[in-house]
Symmetry: C2
Subunit: 301 residues, 2 copies
């Protein structure tokens, strides 16, 4: 079975890990790059790296970085009065250096990501949504800031007033992305933050068109008991005018999805959401086994 997943960071990475654990499943994970940034001159791709490390079984304990990494370099940055809020683990820096140098040498992010995934022995295809510049910008009371400024530097405490995706208008889907969606038997939208993690992927016109044209698109809601497990999805969605609960998730993907998978704790939402099929199951992916169980249910096994 061929499956394509659209993915942000932690939630998407855990969903992908579940799918990758299933036999005879050809998986392509299309990953948000709207959060990508240069930090200390290093090319940072937070969601791509979270997906890579999670599929490699090496994910850090807090939703970023590598398990068991050390922070000698990051700590030392303070000596030079550099902002080290965005924590770069020592082993993780090697990946960043590799990517930075490869991109500087003219390689495409999709090619670099393929090499990185291969170096960790990952069989699934992990592909950035686009090789072109695409930056999620967040308007807060103080004005427009980058995603990293909003999320890391300011600790996602500001109210999100508006989002835009700089570069999206001219960004092309990365090689193979449109074909992968078109030929997939199932497209899964991971339980990631809809506006902040999935909208930047769908902001690439070619990808949005391919998803819209696909007959079997299943979104997994990031809500558990009406709230997100991690990150500010609920607050962001409310601030952007989306209704509360899973109706907001359904609205975030209006016209795109055929099924919405919601958590058992939110089963009341079934009655109020119209026009799409609702599946109620346990969606919390606390460990690899839970991810594999959910994945099996999504693909009908």
């Amino acid at each position: 079975m061929t499956v394509v997943q659209l993915s942000g960071g932690v939630g998407g990475a855990r969903m992908a890990r579940g799918l990758a654990a299933l036999d005879e499943l050809d998986l392509t994970v299309i990953v948000n790059v709207g959060d990508d940034a240069a930090n200390h001159g290093l090319a940072i791709s937070p969601d791509l790296d979270t997906v890579v490390y999670t599929l490699a079984g090496l994910e850090g304990p807090h939703g970023w970085g590598r398990a068991g990494d050390t922070f000698a370099m990051n700590d030392e940055l303070a000596r030079f009065e550099l902002d080290n809020t965005f924590k770069l683990g020592d082993r993780d820096v090697a990946l960043k250096i590799y990517r930075t140098q490869a991109l500087a040498g003219g390689a495409k992010l999709s090619a670099v990501t393929g090499t990185v995934a291969g170096s960790f022995g990952i069989e699934a295809r992990i592909v950035p949504a686009t090789d072109d510049p695409l930056h999620t910008m967040v308007r807060i009371a103080d004005g427009w800031v980058t995603f990293q400024e909003y999320f890391v530097a300011r600790g996602h405490q500001d109210e999100v007033l508006e989002l835009r995706f700089d570069g999206a208008d001219s960004a092309k889907a990365a090689p193979g992305v449109v074909e992968a969606i078109a030929s997939a038997e199932l497209v899964i939208i991971a339980p990631s933050n809809p506006p902040l993690s999935i909208w930047p992927i769908l902001a690439v016109g070619e990808i949005r068109d391919a998803v819209e044209a696909h007959p079997a698109v299943t979104a997994v809601s990031p809500l558990i008991g009406g709230k997100t497990v991690k990150g500010p999805a609920g607050e962001v969605m409310a601030a952007l005018g989306l209704p509360p609960g899973n109706q907001g998730v359904a609205d975030a993907y209006a016209g795109l999805i055929d099924r919405l998978v919601i958590d058992s704790s939110d089963s009341d939402d079934v009655d109020s959401i119209e026009d799409i099929e609702i599946i109620v199951t346990d969606t919390l992916i606390e460990d690899p086994a839970a991810g594999a169980r959910l994945a099996a249910e999504l693909v009908g096994r």
Copy 2:
């Protein structure tokens, strides 16, 4: 007393540490940048960093890097098939990242070095010979290679046939260097490799002229018992046609120095070297105390 020292890496750094330990001594260390290189996109200044770390009391045990550093990043580079022969310690990488970013932002190497030295609490002025590009190139049997290729990648096993200093013709001395030499009561050429570490400094015309014009230039020979403590100075000097022993050191600095300080184990050389004053003493700097003793002798205390 005002003293200027011309310096390469380890030997020069230890000599500088000895001078810095003396009371009421105003020290400027002018450091070779001919070995500077970009490695994995990071701006590497081997001799500047060795001088900084040694004056900070943080020098690594093998003549490079920082004491007690870890190598998680460097080890991990191998996963991406990057050459990690030139070892970058995790804490050391922070300094490299700081310098790389500061230079990319338009700062001069001399200013960056001043900030770095200050961040380690170093009182001596540490100044690169030049802020301009200047690269020591080494001709070996296979052709011209960079210093790092010759020294690190090939382990200084090749015979050195010729040297050249790319960029030296148009390089200006870094700010304050010429003035520091002109106003110094004593100029010391450190016990560094004359062709590979000191010639690149003297290749900057303004610096050579200032040293030539100075009435009190003392070179400390890097030879102990006719051989160098570390590195390939003896072989390099022989290959470049310089006579063996301290005559070769004297010839390497012909027309520039007024005194040559040689080790007690080479006292026989006194008789054969003409035209300059020879001082015989113990020049091996095994520890900070030995460096301070030698420094005191050089400045006449």
